[in-house]
């Protein structure tokens, strides 16, 4: 039976991704590691500050997992939330699990916590890169309603592998932010088809930002995470220069396009307007000959 990744909450996602009963939470809710900032603003806290971190097994292999709860303040990164992510990566360097899985669902920095949230995002990014430099693969999973934006969008781009569903969204500025800053003529955030073909999993797979696309099914995410456990993206100067060159070439190739449909057409996809309607397997068959790799 399918269990929707999109509809699940963060705890259900963690339970479904890992081997049954294997998850051991670090700083569980009973520890009450809650935000010190929100009570000052008379705003409710969550016992886990919207971040669930811990250790479990994936097909018998030890993995660390962090999952963001988008229902709580849009999964936004506050001081404690970010410290839990940072601490998990630092612990991974000490204890060397086979990988760290990041279940991403966040609008970015928690504005209520201002500078503390911004610092938390940069600390998380540094810890993630330290873990990768120590040879521990980091797998990002995106397929929930909030998507992955702002500072967490940057962190997603730092993963060795990104797995997305069509429903998942990834970007820097979210649709409402773009519309507010540049006007509805630039981007209509209420045009759902536009939003998904610009930030959704299919577009990210076609342009190479996501390495795998799966159905909206927790078990499909689990299988994709398992397949990514041994995938390392070299974190070397040469590797970064090559990635930078690939990004520059992508910008030169598509920077003038007005719509994702134009990019897909320029990639060589035969019927770009049909892409949003394709099921996962048919989409992969249509996309793989033309998708760009980063």
């Amino acid at each position: 039976m399918k269990h929707s990744f999109y509809e699940a909450n963060a705890r259900q996602r963690v339970a479904g991704l890992l081997d049954a009963g294997s998850f051991r939470e670090l700083l569980p809710p009973a520890e009450r590691a809650t935000s010190p900032h929100l009570p000052l603003l008379d705003t409710p806290v969550a016992f886990d500050d919207g971040a669930i971190v811990g250790v479990g097994t994936l097909d018998g292999r030890t993995v660390f997992v962090a999952a963001q709860e988008g229902g709580f303040m849009g999964g936004a990164v506050g001081e404690v939330h970010g410290a839990k992510l940072t601490g998990l990566f630092e612990r991974a360097i000490d204890q060397r699990p086979d990988a760290v899985l990041l279940v991403l669902e966040s609008g970015g920095v928690r504005l209520h916590e201002a500078n503390a949230g911004l610092i938390a995002v940069s600390e998380t990014m540094r810890a993630l890169l330290d873990a990768r430099a120590a040879g521990i693969p980091v797998v990002g999973l995106i397929g929930s309603s909030v998507g992955c934006f702002g500072g967490m969008g940057l962190i997603a781009a730092c993963c060795d592998t990104l797995v997305m569903s069509e429903e998942g969204r990834l970007g820097m500025s979210g649709p409402e932010v773009i519309e507010t800053a540049h006007g509805v003529e630039e981007f209509d955030s209420r045009d759902r088809a536009l939003v998904w073909r610009t930030t959704g999993g299919k577009h990210r797979y076609l342009t190479g930002d996501a390495q795998a696309i799966v159905e909206d099914d927790i078990d499909a995410f689990r299988r994709a995470a398992l397949a990514a456990l041994d995938h390392h993206r070299a974190l070397t100067l040469d590797g970064l220069l090559a990635e930078q060159a690939a990004l520059t070439a992508r910008l030169q190739a598509f920077g003038q396009q007005r719509d994702a449909l134009d990019i897909w057409r320029a990639l060589g996809v035969a019927a770009p307007e049909a892409i949003p309607l394709l099921e996962r397997d048919a989409f992969v068959a249509a996309a793989d000959p033309y998708r760009r790799a980063l």
Binding site: R11, T43, F47, G71
Partner: protein, 103 residues
């Protein structure tokens, strides 16, 4: 923020590991149940919705009559959930606490 506390005596202690259900989101709440040595059922609520003491008292009184849960500390972070949602979450929390699979 309103902080409310209720205590119910005479429930049955049934110790299990601490659990949490629900999400702190608009119209929703999270409920954590932890075992305690104290045989009472102590419930604390943090909610931004002020002035609903009587409604909480009614909902939690009904809940205690249904569950007769003792020896626990129940902590609630609420964001304006309706009484029906609160009742369902509390029942889900007790079922999860007692080892059912209602996460």
């Amino acid at each position: 923020m309103e902080h409310l506390s209720f205590t119910y005596e005479g429930g049955n202690s049934d110790p299990h590991d601490a659990i949490v259900v629900g999400v702190v989101a608009s119209g929703n709440l999270e409920v954590m149940i932890e075992p305690t040595q104290d045989p009472a059922c102590r419930i604390t609520i943090d909610t931004p919705a002020r002035g609903f003491d009587d409604v909480w008292a009614a909902v939690l009184g009904d809940f205690f009559e249904r569950s007769k849960l003792g020896g626990v500390r129940i902590s609630i972070n609420d964001v304006g959930a309706t009484p029906a949602v609160v009742s369902l979450r509390l029942d889900q929390a007790v079922e999860t606490f007692r080892g059912g699979d209602a996460t």
